[in-house]
């Protein structure tokens, strides 16, 4: 579309502001994490590493971090296996039941977090799953499942099933066909599903806040209670670490996606 120079300028400025609004707030945790005082007031004073030390040595923080890693790893594996199986099943069904089941499996994405949280909490109280590893893994898996399903389904949609027929006609059994033809071709989808599932669990807060107890806290729960309790810059240090960790993860994911795109052309 053609535009007058003035319109073009305004459009550019507005978009610049939106981009700053999107990205800049997240970066504010970085300077705060080196604060010398125990305060979250801006601007930070002086420079110190003490909040990073606190994160590493204070058992409250380090335990919750390890808990989150443990839960997220288990969730990533479980959600990826269940999600990939389901994506295959849906891909090979008739369209009508497939659409119905797909919608059903995507519901965890739209059910309001708190409603789900009180429901799971009620059930967990009866089943004595509050504050247990099993409880966290099951709840996070169901929340991560839609992301795996979407990622793998997107890959299966562009997968040419005649390749399987070709392999079968050349004498390969079902398992061999899957291992040597299907799996390598949809691997990018499975891997990005794995990544999404890990991130979903690692970041999950609403349901976690309800099913947590003093014996098992995940990192987001610890961050949340720290923010509501006092102005401890350790949260800023954790935020900074997470920011860098996710940036690296995204970088990895982008590389995978790039490879996938190249492979498809």
């Amino acid at each position: 579309m053609e535009m007058k120079p003035l319109t073009r300028l305004i459009l550019g400025l507005v978009c610049l502001l939106v981009a700053i609004w999107l990205v800049a707030p997240t970066l504010v945790v970085v300077p705060m994490s080196f604060n010398e005082n125990k305060s979250l007031a801006f601007p930070p004073q002086g420079f110190s590493w003490q909040w990073y030390q606190n994160f590493a040595t204070n058992p409250e923080w380090s335990t919750s971090f390890l808990n989150s890693l443990k839960v997220a790893s288990l969730v990533a594996v479980l959600a990826t296996v269940l999600g990939t199986l389901a994506a295959f099943g849906l891909d090979r069904m008739k369209a009508r039941p497939a659409n119905l089941l797909r919608m059903l499996m995507l519901t965890p994405m739209v059910v309001p977090g708190v409603v789900l949280a009180i429901g799971i909490y009620a059930v967990y109280l009866d089943a004595q799953l509050v504050g247990t590893l099993t409880g966290f893994v099951l709840a996070h898996t169901i929340l991560a499942l839609p992301f795996v399903l979407i990622a793998v389904s997107a890959n299966l949609e562009v997968f040419d099933r005649r390749l399987e027929t070709a392999a079968a006609s050349l004498g390969a059994g079902a398992l061999t066909t899957f291992r040597t033809v299907t799996l390598p071709l949809i691997l990018p989808g499975i891997l990005s599903g794995l990544l999404f599932a890990f991130a979903t669990s690692f970041d999950e807060i609403v349901v976690s806040l309800f099913i947590t107890n003093p014996y098992l806290k995940t990192l987001p729960v610890q961050i949340f209670s720290s923010i509501t309790r006092d102005a401890d810059p350790t949260v800023a240090a954790v935020g900074t670490i997470l920011l860098f960790a996710t940036t690296i993860l995204i970088g990895g994911g982008m590389l995978l996606l790039g490879r996938e795109r190249k492979g498809r052309v």
Binding site: V18, R161, R162, G239
Partner: protein, 289 residues
């Protein structure tokens, strides 16, 4: 595309295996029933049965002015968030379609980075920015606006929520705008329409499905927001989710909390049902292309 030629050769040989796709989805479905279906059912039952069977919890919810205020506020805040998102996302998504691949990559990254950064951390950033001794207030003060309160106000909640939800608006909008045939705009121009007229009569209507899809997603997600209002809001900006949490965790009123949850759930699904026809027609279009 694989859809061009169905895999008929292998079909007869697989006829006896028709149940197999269903078996593959079974584990996921079982977990879904156990961890989503059963809990939601529990909540619905409790809202109808505690302390005794009947609709008393719903009568209480719709009878107390406080609850209605919060319900109305939840919808108002969500509507404001949606409006802010549409206004910011529209020019942004348009620019994404108009620039070269390099700038587009930068614009896409700007959308995806906040998408990926931990939600709690992002809310923490907003607490730091919006607090009374925060960045925005110091800037405002130096510009001569003293005593502007942002944290624990509705404005603060809307600013924080809109930033979190903006990517959900930009991405569907971009995918629709990408498909708009710009020759239609050129045609309007060549027939004598001024640029603004060409935009309003040709481009804008063609982009509306994207606006609609994004707005519904943003509105639905905003309705159920919990963390951002809990940390950025105050007693005068409480949203429904916080009320549900208070009833269940602090007052142990499972029936009342459950009734509120069911209201929130129904509102969500009604909105989704409204959005479904639009989304479906978009998919059909995509299939035809």
């Amino acid at each position: 595309m694989s859809a061009l030629e169905p895999t008929t050769p292998s079909a007869p040989q697989r006829a006896g295996w028709a149940w197999r796709p269903y078996a593959l989805t079974l584990p996921a479905l079982l977990l879904l029933v156990a961890v989503i279906g059963y809990p939601l059912l529990t909540i619905v039952l409790r809202s109808l049965s505690e302390p005794q069977w009947g609709l008393q919890n719903y009568a209480w919810f719709f009878g107390a002015p406080v609850n209605l205020t919060v319900l109305q506020r939840t919808f108002t805040i969500s509507a404001w968030v949606t409006v802010v998102c549409v206004l910011c996302a529209y020019p942004y998504a348009y620019l994404m379609t108009a620039v070269g691949p390099r700038v587009r990559l930068v614009l896409v990254l700007c959308v995806l980075i906040p998408f990926w950064v931990s939600g709690v951390v992002r809310t923490l950033s907003w607490v730091i920015l919006l607090q009374d001794s925060g960045v925005i207030n110091s800037l405002l003060r130096s510009a001569g606006f003293d005593g502007v309160r942002l944290i624990r106000t509705q404005t603060g909640v809307v600013i924080g929520m809109a930033q979190v939800l903006l990517p959900f608006m930009i991405l569907p909008l971009y995918s629709v705008m990408k498909g708009i045939d710009l020759r239609l705009v050129q045609a309007a121009r060549s027939l004598g329409a001024r640029p603004s007229r060409a935009f309003f009569t040709v481009y804008l209507p063609l982009s509306l499905p994207g606006v609609y899809a994004g707005a519904i997603i943003v509105f639905i997600l905003a309705l159920g927001f919990y963390i951002t209002p809990a940390l950025l809001g105050g007693p005068r900006s409480t949203m429904l989710s916080t009320l549900v949490q208070t009833q269940v965790l602090s007052l142990l009123q499972w029936g009342r909390g459950g009734a509120m949850g069911v209201v929130l759930l129904i509102a969500t699904f009604v909105l989704l049902a409204l959005a479904a026809p639009v989304m479906r027609s978009r998919y059909r279009e995509a299939g035809r292309r």
